[in-house]
């Protein structure tokens, strides 16, 4: 499956995700610190879902579980019906920090996934770099890149793996507001052209509403699902859309922030 698909332009079909009764806790000085409390939801293949919640509520932990970096304390995670037991390149995590390897050029950073699996580099890497607009910086080292460019490189590194699920852990959280707006648009078009299932963790209400088809609102730690808000708007979306303002009020209300609005 990998061999044939690897030569095609990025048209991976998205995978479905099932999160079934997942709870998780960390050990903090010998005492359990609960971070996730009975979280269940399903993401359809190719769907764009945002997980919205206050800082430190455990959203990122959920992504780490889906990535397979850690097993959950309780519950089951399924991808296309099969249980997640360990990391797999079809589910790539993009972090808040680009975490590019400073000793590798942009091209070699992007090639990381292929190299880790012992695959030939091929045209895939340059294709991904073209997709994120970094062709001219392929031979630059990460410290020459701006924040937005570094995050684009990190996206290219993820896309090279032809992911069926892209896990985005506040990938735009540290960018300046103008770069952020540009990259929100780019994320949508990447998702539309590639067809992966996208799961975006964010604490930015507008970002969640602008990007996702569904916004799952999480409570404070330990995170539990408070609401599942469908965003019934076609793409491309307009930031000034009155429907977005309506949804924002609704979601802020769910987060208990409507008094500040």
């Amino acid at each position: 499956m990998v061999t044939a698909a690897a030569l095609q332009p990025v048209v991976a079909a998205g995978a479905s995700l099932d999160i079934l009764g997942v709870s998780h806790h960390f050990d903090l000085h010998g005492r359990p610190l609960p971070v996730l409390n009975d979280v269940s939801f399903r993401a359809e293949p190719g769907e764009f879902v945002a997980l919205l919640g206050p800082s430190g509520c455990g959203k990122s932990t959920l992504l780490r579980l889906i990535a397979g970096l850690e097993p959950p304390s309780v519950g089951t995670l399924l991808v296309d019906g099969a249980p997640i037991t360990r990391p797999h390149p079809s589910r790539v995590l993009v972090f808040q920090d680009p975490t590019l390897y400073p000793w590798r050029t942009v091209r070699k950073n992007a090639a990381l996934g292929l190299e880790a699996r012992g695959l030939q580099r091929g045209p895939r890497v340059d294709q991904a770099l073209r997709l994120v607009g970094l062709t001219n910086f392929a031979d630059a080292y990460p410290h020459h890149l701006s924040g937005g460019m570094a995050q684009r490189a990190a996206l290219a590194r993820a896309l090279v793996n032809d992911p069926s699920v892209l896990l985005l852990d506040e990938p735009l959280g540290k960018l300046d507001s103008m770069t952020r707006i540009t990259m929100q648009g780019e994320l949508v078009s990447l998702w539309q052209s590639s067809g992966f299932t996208a799961l975006l963790v964010t604490h930015d209400v507008e970002e969640a509403l602008f990007l996702a088809q569904r916004v799952i609102v999480l409570s404070d730690r330990p995170a539990a699902i408070k609401a599942d808000v469908p965003v019934d708007l076609p793409y491309p979306r307009h930031r000034g859309d009155p429907r977005l303002a309506e949804l924002r009020r609704e979601v802020l209300g769910l987060l208990g922030l409507d008094a500040n609005w």
């Binding site: 975490t99 880790a116 990460p142």
Partner: protein
């Protein structure tokens, strides 16, 4: 000027070129004053040559004429270069003047007026005589020192590196190696000298062991701390993409630890020099340390100074070599120190 030098360190090819153009612009303007410095330096060296040649020596010196010729030669070369001085020579201008002044003063207080007591203070031409007459023995000493040093250093660096990676990576290795390292590591390698010369069949193998030990400790500790300090997120990134343990060690941990490893290699090199010299003075019957000891025994102070000078050149040459290798391998790093 020093800041310009550090910035020239090419972070990338484009940055290097941009910097080069900048410094060319900067030197274009004050070319007149630099030209003058070159002329002054030329005059100073010619004056030094004149003092050396025309003032009578107060003792028998074999190489006074050669010294004067070398000084005059340098002066003439500088005079010619003032027309179109290369960048490096241009930068050395003030140093060339200072050196000419120093050599003149040295010549005056030793060879000409014997202000400083002989033979403890050797004249410049006495050192020159050592180089012209005793170079086979000096060269041989350099060769022996270098081969002894490089053998011990390479063994120590390789073993230290492997040990450091193992300790940093594996909990079990760390558990067992840490206490041993804490106890043995800080002990100066020279403290092992009596045991080593007794336990090893030859003084050469004993010295190799001591040099390896002196090199190995800092390399181990800094490799270890480099591996232990690798950003955890680097591992997560590689793991989500299906990387094996082998990949995590070879392609993530080790490259990330390299800046720290090079600090260890640098410290290890310094430690290895001191062990080398002590070992050569104490037991090994060859090398620069032995040469100095031998020269001192014969009250041949000029030979001692000459050997010291050669040793300094050897050490700084090796450090420079290490920094070159580092600059090449760690070109991706920002703000490297310029040696």
């Amino acid at each position: 000027m020093s800041s310009a030098r550090t910035a020239t360190l090419p972070l990338s090819r484009e940055a290097g070129e941009g910097q080069g153009r900048g410094s060319a612009d900067r030197t274009a303007r004050p070319s007149w004053s630099l030209w003058r410095i070159g002329a002054v330096a030329a005059a100073a060296w010619l004056a030094a040559a004149a003092v050396t040649h025309f003032l009578p020596d107060n003792d028998d010196f074999e190489r006074t004429k050669l010294l004067a010729e070398l000084m005059a030669g340098l002066g003439i070369a500088l005079a010619v270069l003032t027309i179109a001085p290369p960048q490096r020579i241009r930068r050395a201008g003030p140093w060339l003047i200072a050196l000419a002044t120093f050599f003149t003063a040295w010549e005056l207080v030793t060879a000409k007026f014997a202000v400083l007591p002989r033979p403890f203070f050797a004249a410049p031409q006495s050192l020159l005589e050592v180089f012209t007459d005793d170079y086979p023995k000096l060269g041989d000493s350099v060769w022996h020192s270098l081969s002894l040093l490089s053998g011990g250093y390479v063994i120590g660096a390789v073993l230290g590196f492997i040990a450091g990676v193992a300790i940093g990576w594996s909990r079990v290795v760390g558990y067992w190696a840490h206490p041993v390292l804490r106890l043995i590591g800080p002990l100066p390698a020279t403290a092992w000298l009596p045991i080593a010369f007794f336990a090893f069949p030859t003084s050469h193998s004993a010295s190799t062991f001591l040099i390896a030990l002196a090199t190995g400790f800092p390399v181990t500790v800094l490799t270890w701390s480099g591996v232990a300090g690798v950003n955890r997120a680097y591992y997560d990134v590689a793991r989500t993409m299906g990387a094996s343990q082998r990949f995590l060690v070879l392609k993530v941990a080790i490259p990330a630890a390299m800046p720290s490893v090079f600090v260890g290699l640098f410290m290890g090199l310094g430690a290895s020099f001191s062990v080398l010299v002590v070992a050569e003075m104490m037991g090994v019957k060859s090398g620069l340390g032995w040469y100095m000891q031998w020269a001192q025994g014969w009250a041949a102070y000029a030979n001692m100074y000459a050997a010291l000078l050669v040793m300094a050149l050897m050490c700084t040459g090796l450090i420079t070599l290490l920094f070159r290798v580092r600059d090449h391998l760690l070109a991706w790093q920002k703000g490297l120190v310029q040696w």
